[in-house]
């Protein structure tokens, strides 16, 4: 199986093909509904956003509370399509990849192709299993949102499937 590390390069991403299984190591950022809404509001108002999105990977995830003595609690993906409307603006800001579950809108797929990004799937409903691949976890923005805050995760061999590649090919088509 192919192993990739962050920061991802454009060349590495171009080589990923839809349906391919990949293990990812490095840094990813969680963000889901409310974090997306806030990021987009800030971007639209030309305000500074709390993290530099350039070259980053966004994971659609709201983890449970972290149990004592662990890096993170259960932390599987949430439904990606709810983030579709925000995706083009974040791609424009330079994100290179997203991790989630399920289909994306046609508009989101077009934007992924246009910005030469990639959309990964990971095991849906397997938050306990996925927590094993997370080594570090710290909240970095919007902490008042609780599970919907942005968390910076350090992952090792996090299992992914390429859902949409840079050519705009979707695994669901």
């Amino acid at each position: 199986m192919k192993r990739i590390n962050t920061p991802l390069t454009k060349i590495e991403i171009e080589r990923l093909n839809v349906g391919e299984r990949v293990l990812l190591s490095g840094i990813i950022y969680t963000a889901r509904d409310q974090a997306h809404k806030r990021l987009i509001e800030a971007i639209n108002k030309n305000k500074k956003i709390p993290i530099d999105l350039k070259g980053q990977i966004i994971y659609y995830c709201g983890p449970t509370v972290t149990p004592r003595g662990r890096a993170i609690g259960s932390c599987g993906p949430t439904t990606s399509s709810r983030m579709d409307e925000f995706t083009p603006a974040l791609l424009k800001k330079g994100i290179l990849a997203m991790i989630g579950k399920g289909r994306r809108s046609r508009q989101a797929i077009r934007a992924i192709k246009r910005y030469q990004a990639v959309y990964f799937l990971t095991y849906a409903g397997c938050g306990a299993l996925l927590s094993k691949y997370v080594k570090k976890n710290e909240p970095v923005a919007y902490q008042d949102l609780g599970p919907e805050a942005i968390y910076k995760l350090e992952v090792k061999d996090f299992p992914l499937i390429v859902g949409i590649d840079t050519k705009g090919r979707s695994i669901y088509d």
């Binding site: 409310q34 995830c61 709201g62 983890p63 449970t64 509370v65 972290t66 149990p67 004592r68 609690g73 259960s74 932390c75 599987g76 949430t78 439904t79 399509s81 579950k101 399920g102 289909r103 799937l121 095991y123 849906a124 409903g125 397997c126 938050g127 306990a128 299993l129 927590s131 094993k132 008042d144 949102l145 609780g146 599970p147 919907e148 299992p159 499937i161 695994i171 669901y172």
Partner: protein
């Protein structure tokens, strides 16, 4: 007359919240294993293995099966000879809060649906039924919202054919596709009023999945099997990436209804169908 204190209810609810979220129901786990052995596609098998493995890890390491620890739906069957001392509603919500905190579960409840706000642990949605006897049966069903978002209600004409109802249910599962985390368990409520059909669809999820014996009403049992067969032909599969394992079971609950109507509600559960029950 039997006296049950609010404290006892609070403790039971807390325990049930933790158990439901950490220990996958036996019937669901065996349903997953059976579907794993039937599945032929490699990718589908690989995902099912991860799902089963996830349940073992959750149980062993005391982690939530899914990070979406749901909106806790609490079903109470209160025997008419039971006397509850103290504040019942408060006891339930305190139990939920205590259990969710103690189990390191997720605070997914916002106090206002329109204006949102900071997420917390409660309140639960509570369904109360008064039944015969002197027992109090409590069931906690933490319902994840990936699948809850796919719920539908349709008020059919009373002259509708069974095949139209089947089509409504199968089409709904098809449109849910990968989004609600297949393989699914499909709860169906037929009859009553609009609200009651929705309640029945939810309560149907508490029934055993993939029962070997047919529904007590044979015709309903056959309908369940027929729906399961049709849904598993949709080739949605685990994560919606194709395969036979689209649905582990269809559970139908019915209730008498009005001459002018035929309400049908469908409530899908993801593969992590969680619930736990205790009788006091």
């Amino acid at each position: 007359m039997k006296i049950v204190t609010a404290d006892k209810i609070r403790n039971a609810v807390a325990e049930l919240c933790i158990r439901a979220n950490l220990v996958l129901r036996k019937d669901v786990l065996s349903g997953l294993k059976a579907t794993y052995s039937r599945e032929t596609k490699r990718r589908a098998k690989d995902i099912l293995r991860a799902i089963i493995n996830n349940a073992y890890i959750a149980r062993k390491e005391k982690l939530a099966i899914c990070q979406d620890t749901g909106l806790p739906v609490v079903f109470l069957e209160i025997g008419q000879e039971v006397k509850i001392t103290g504040d019942l509603r408060r006891a339930i919500n305190k139990g939920v809060e205590g259990g969710y905190r103690r189990g390191y579960l997720r605070n997914s409840i916002i106090s206002n649906p329109l204006f949102r706000g900071r997420p917390g642990y409660s309140p639960a949605v509570i369904h109360t039924e008064i039944v015969r006897g002197n027992r109090l049966k409590i069931t906690v069903l933490p319902k994840g919202f990936g699948c809850e978002n796919k719920t539908q209600l349709k008020m059919f004409n009373p002259t509708a054919k069974i095949s139209e109802i089947e089509k409504f249910i199968v089409d709904l599962v098809e449109s849910a596709g990968p989004d609600a985390c297949p393989p699914y368990i499909v709860g169906v409520g037929i009859g009553g009023t609009a609200d009651y059909a929705c309640f029945l669809a939810k309560r149907a999820l508490l029934k055993r999945v993939a029962r070997r014996t047919l529904h007590v009403a044979r015709r309903i049992g056959k309908l369940e099997q027929e729906l399961l067969r049709k849904i598993n032909k949709l080739n949605i599969g685990p994560m919606g990436l194709g395969g036979k394992a689209t649905c582990l079971g269809v559970n139908i609950e019915t209730y008498p209804t009005h001459i002018a109507g035929l309400p049908v509600a469908v409530n899908i559960s993801c593969h992590a169908l969680r619930s736990a029950t205790k009788t006091l």
